[in-house]
């Protein structure tokens, strides 16, 4: 079966997931071919980079593809794939892929799965993904079909060999006028601290319980020369500003010390901090996924441990 990986780019740069998808494609293609699809106003530079890792690059070029739009992307990919079945589509599990992949699957009448972390094509299309916020893994076999659509978790398939393929430029007939219109990108708000540049981050999660407890976290951060950051729920509650959010949708951080207080470790958070030099996580739940990436796993109550540390340092 041929594998098609849809490249992702924003503001003139290919996202790393584009190459991760090709690594996965090359490892499962068997006697099939790995194909990259890149859709843009101008594809030459992208296609050149992708061709290193794909047997073939399909460059779909049209003025209309200046900015991502799910309707025009779906239409372009659908037209390109027509008659090329059976095919497996790999798309990044990102704000981009998670949006258009399911709807593309409907158009292709294809089984679709998101946030995939494993693919096995030895006997049909078998995939693995997590459910229950990373606490359970499900292995499943997809119904036999002409097309399959998967969105693939970032940073899972980081390594793979070069392939060096050909580039085929497809002048896409952009036949549709999308109903949804792109207006603009909005830059992140800039606060007084840039958590991605700090050496010590004290990161608070839902486990802190209530707002009044944020005081002790501030106090601890001050004592160890760090800055307070938060996981998504803390930002949603309005307890910390958006620019303090650690995670894929917030900021990717690599501090010398990441101290997690009551952070459970949702995948989008972990992908934003697992490059930290030293990770210490305190959580009362021994099954918290954050412990998978922590160098020191403290199973206990932050509301007792944090005051005890403050007491000794203060």
């Amino acid at each position: 079966m041929h594998i098609f990986a849809v490249a992702e780019h924003r503001k003139g740069e290919l996202a790393p997931i584009s190459f991760e998808l090709l690594n996965l494609a090359n490892s499962i293609k068997g006697s099939g071919k790995s194909n990259a699809i890149v859709i843009s106003k101008s594809t030459t530079a992208f296609a050149g980079q992708l061709a290193k890792y794909a047997d073939k690059v399909w460059a779909i070029e049209d003025e209309a593809f200046e900015n991502y739009n799910p309707e025009s992307y779906i239409d372009a990919i659908f037209e390109m794939l027509r008659g090329r079945e059976p095919a497996l589509l790999l798309i990044g599990d990102t704000s981009f892929g998670r949006e258009f992949a399911p709807c593309l699957a409907v158009k292709l009448s294809a089984p679709v799965q998101t946030d995939v972390v494993g693919v096995d094509l030895s006997d049909g299309v078998n995939i693995s993904r997590y459910i229950s916020q990373g606490k359970v893994m499900i292995d499943m076999k997809l119904r036999k079909s002409m097309f399959y659509v998967l969105t693939v978790r970032q940073k899972v398939f980081k390594n793979g060999p070069e392939v060096r393929g050909n580039i085929e430029v497809v002048k896409a007939k952009n036949t549709i006028v999308p109903k949804r219109r792109f207006v603009k990108y909005i830059e992140p708000e800039v606060g007084e601290v840039d958590i991605s540049k700090e050496d010590v981050l004290v990161t608070v999660g839902r486990g802190i319980g209530d707002f009044s407890k944020m005081k002790i976290v501030e106090e601890l951060a001050k004592l160890i020369g760090g800055v307070v950051a938060g996981s998504r729920p803390i930002i949603d509650y309005g307890w910390l500003p958006k620019d303090r959010q650690v995670g894929i949708s917030g900021k990717v951080v690599n501090p010398k010390l990441y101290l997690g207080l009551g952070v459970s470790g949702a995948s989008q958070h972990v992908m934003g901090m697992n490059g930290s030099e030293l990770i210490i996580a305190i959580n009362k739940n021994p099954e918290a996924p954050i412990f998978e990436v922590a160098h020191y796993c403290v199973i206990g109550n932050i509301l007792e441990i944090v005051p005890a540390i403050i007491n000794k340092l203060g």
Partner: protein, 246 residues
């Protein structure tokens, strides 16, 4: 205006659920269910629109045991509720039964949570948009009405957002943090008990996958520190000193 909100009676994912002995499903009896966190934000957005512009809010839920969540929606201000008594973990089938049932309903806007807290698929919304051929946007962080279109912002990576406009009718899945979901007023809770939940059965086509096995991923813990806070805090300070961080 008519708004449909899709809500899920979802299990709480904070602690590890049990797996049935045959490895094909979770042990349902031990799970604790509540209204899906993301859907609370979707419903709040609908109730806000109802208050600002006047709208009828219809909530739709799929599942044999979803009454409590639908009652909660009534308490929060929903006008009507449809229960589709069908259990499946296949998002395609869920979208399929919803699409069948709401075809006879009038709507200008469909709102749903970005994903469910239990299965984390983020599929039902965009699959349904595809089945109904509706324009849509996912992970929406703000919604503004302008004449005959809707202006949204959606969450991208690294703090970036994207602004788009969509005509009505359309479907939006909302991200947490878009608003501050309210608590149900006592009067609402009492009234919710007597409101009618319409039950509509629907049959989907066959499943898009077969479960092979559920299993627990091995959480490899590097160094475990446990004990009294007194000892734990001393150990942590020693680690920080050793690393030159104190």
């Amino acid at each position: 205006m008519n708004i449909i909100v899709l809500v899920k009676h979802a299990f709480v994912s904070e602690f590890r659920p049990g797996i049935r002995a045959d490895g094909k499903a979770l042990e349902k009896k031990k799970l604790v269910y509540e209204m899906n966190d993301w859907d609370r934000y979707a419903l709040e957005e609908a109730i806000k629109l109802k208050e600002q512009k006047g709208a009828e809010v219809l909530v739709v839920s799929v599942g044999e045991d979803c009454e409590n969540t639908l009652r909660q929606c009534f308490a929060l201000g929903a006008d009507r509720a449809i229960k589709i008594p069908f259990d499946s973990i296949d998002s395609w089938q869920i979208a399929e039964v919803i699409s069948g049932v709401i075809k006879t309903e009038k709507f200008n806007l469909i709102l749903a949570g970005f994903q469910s807290q239990d299965l984390n698929n983020a599929l039902v919304g965009p699959i349904l948009a595809g089945m109904l051929n509706l324009p849509y946007a996912t992970a929406v962080t703000s919604i503004t009405f302008e004449d005959d279109e809707i202006r949204v912002r959606r969450e991208l990576e690294a703090g970036f957002q994207e602004e788009d406009t969509l005509p009505l009718p359309c479907l939006l899945t909302v991200q947490t943090g878009i608003n501050k979901p309210r608590y149900a007023p006592v009067k609402g809770i009492l009234k919710a008990k007597t409101k009618e939940i319409k039950e509509v059965s629907a049959k989907p086509t066959s499943s898009t996958f077969e479960v092979k096995k559920l299993h627990f991923p091995a959480i490899k813990k590097a160094n475990i520190i446990e004990g009294l806070s007194e000892e734990v805090s001393t150990k942590l300070i020693a680690i920080l000193k050793d690393r030159g961080l104190l």
